[in-house]
């Protein structure tokens, strides 16, 4: 489901920026370079197939799903993850021609594989299959999306691709896992599972109505209709791995989960963001400086924490890369000033920083979304001016002032920045620099 088919605006009303690691062409800039500042992209070919309704960003590739159900991919393609019938990188968005005859409604990008779900519930996978993560019954890689026959008689709703595994959610409530299971990320067995190449039912969710699934690194997560969060796979913050879905805080009401390689973000119904893990390497955030929301009675499990520096600012969108995160706040003004309070030092803190997207979107009615790949980020803005103009022309100016969105990237690596000076230059500093505008 994701945000598929959400926005139907004219392509002209849509703007796309990218920044971060770009050496595989994943930024869509037409260059093989890292970008430290958000780059406004010009993607005329892509726009010819309608506006982008959602993006999926993987290890070093990206998938765009358009409002008419067409799919474009770019970035690293060396294991077939772009679905272009070849195992080559692509600097520019190119259509996945073998899916032309389908209306695609959901896409996911893993480290080196991809998944596509059609309007009628068919599942296709391509890319690296060496851990069985394509679910095709073998360990081969595919350069063209292949229909997953295992689900021939089922209606697939969503796929979530992690580093070496995949989760699938059927219409109804069943969740399946396949690929590498070494850290428990498939949730299919009490015993250690090295890998499976055919889907198997994830245990413990049979009586739960799951509405969304997520995967990244060796982590897996699902959210139920009543907002409960379940996580399994690699433990957060050094906690033990979980072979089965674990319910995190039954009092929690989640609307979205975004997973990294060592952290997870949760968006609650109150538009609050909570973080799972994050200090596994001592770098992502300083848990002592975060206010622990609540500790689970089982102390071996990771705790949920508020993100420091947000100070109650409402958050409307979240996204997580391997070791960084991005979120969109619904705050009208002041966020830039507020976010700058912690700038200029490299203390062990995590403070969300505001990214300036040029041309400035303040005082303009817009809907902004963010998507993170392993080391890169995309932001898409859809103008809603036209909509409000037609609904309420007199009130437009006032509304514009009241509702504007700014994009904030949570800079997750302040401590790592000081430990890994070269990394600053290559990837993370790009995000940080963008934040200082």
């Amino acid at each position: 489901m994701e945000e598929a088919k959400r926005d139907e605006e004219e392509p002209k009303q849509q703007q796309i920026w990218s920044w971060g690691a770009g050496t595989e062409g994943q930024l869509g800039t037409g260059k093989l370079e890292d970008e430290y500042l958000p780059q406004l992209l010009h993607l005329p070919f892509l726009y010819s197939a309608g506006s982008i309704s959602t993006l999926a960003c993987g290890g070093a590739h990206a998938i765009a799903l358009t409002s008419v159900g067409k799919v474009f991919t770019w970035g690293r393609g060396t294991t077939g993850q772009l679905g272009h019938r070849e195992m080559l990188n692509s600097l520019h968005p190119k259509p996945v021609s073998s899916l032309q005859s389908y209306v695609i409604t959901h896409v996911s990008a893993g480290w080196s594989h991809s998944g596509f779900v059609s309007e009628i519930g068919l599942l296709f996978t391509c890319g690296d299959g060496s851990f069985g993560q394509l679910g095709l019954g073998d360990y081969r890689s595919q350069s063209t999306p292949v229909k997953v026959d295992y689900f021939a008689n089922n209606f697939v709703n969503q796929i979530a691709c992690g580093m070496r595994h995949s989760l699938v959610m059927l219409k109804g409530n069943q969740v399946y896992g396949f690929g590498s299971g070494k850290r428990g990320q498939l949730g299919i067995s009490r015993d250690k599972i090295k890998s499976v190449n055919l889907p198997q039912v994830t245990c413990g969710l049979e009586d739960v109505q799951i509405v969304s699934i997520s995967a990244n690194g060796d982590h897996s997560a699902a959210i139920s209709a009543d907002g409960h969060l379940y996580t399994w796979g690699r433990g957060f913050a050094g906690a033990a791995d979980a072979n089965f879905p674990q319910l995190s805080l039954s009092s929690l009401r989640c609307t979205k989960a975004a997973l990294g390689w060592n952290h997870g973000l949760l968006l609650t119904g109150d538009e609050e963001v909570l973080m799972l893990g994050g200090n596994y390497h001592g770098g992502l955030c300083d848990l002592e400086k975060m206010s622990a929301v609540k500790h689970r009675s089982d102390s071996s499990r990771a705790t949920l924490n508020e993100v420091i520096g947000l100070d109650g600012v409402k958050v409307v969108k979240i996204a997580a890369g391997a070791e960084h995160s991005a979120l969109v706040t619904g705050r009208t003004w002041g966020w830039g000033e507020h976010g700058q309070l912690g700038l200029g030092n490299t203390n062990d803190q995590t403070i969300p920083q505001t990214v300036s997207l040029s041309p400035d979107i303040q005082n303009k009615e817009a809907s902004l979304n963010v998507y993170c790949g392993s080391g890169f980020t995309f932001a898409i803005r859809c103008s809603r001016e036209q909509i409000y103009e037609s609904i309420n022309p007199e009130n437009r100016t006032m509304k514009s002032r009241n509702v504007s969105y700014k994009c904030s990237a949570v800079v997750s690596h302040v401590k790592l920045l000081s430990l890994f000076p070269h990394l600053q230059r290559n990837v993370w500093f790009g995000i940080l620099k963008a934040s200082y505008q």
């Binding site: 690691a21 050496t23 595989e24 994943q26 290890g59 070093a60 690293r76 060396t78 294991t79 070849e86 195992m87 080559l88 480290w111 690296d128 060496s130 851990f131 360990y139 081969r140 890689s141 350069s143 580093m163 070494k182 090295k194 890998s195 390689w261 390497h281 001592g282 770098g283 890369g321 391997a322 070791e323 790949g373 392993s374 080391g375 890169f376 430990l419 890994f420 000076p421 070269h422 990394l423 290559n426 990837v427």
Partner: protein
């Protein structure tokens, strides 16, 4: 500080690079060659950033590998070589 400890069996053999690899959060791969392993090197580096991982393995496996040329026994069994068009 090492980003992670990774067992050699969780790394993938890349024929083109002639190295064992593991995903780096920047999008590139940590890499270590068999020669490195025979020398007892346990740090796999990423060519695109300054991150590195510690590779967990038994050096003797690779010394024996050198002597007897039984390379296949030591590569992760489940993984196929990464094919490059």
């Amino acid at each position: 500080m090492s980003y992670d400890n990774v067992e050699i069996e969780d790394m993938e053999w890349n024929e083109e690079l002639q190295a064992f690899t593991y995903p780096c959060p920047c999008g590139d791969f940590f890499q270590i060659t068999k020669d490195d392993l025979q020398l007892g090197e346990e740090i796999a580096r990423c060519p695109s950033c300054s991150l590195y991982i510690t590779v967990v393995y038994n050096q003797e496996d690779f010394l024996r590998d050198k002597d007897k040329s039984k390379k296949k026994d030591l590569e992760p069994a489940k993984q196929l070589p990464i094919s490059v068009a």
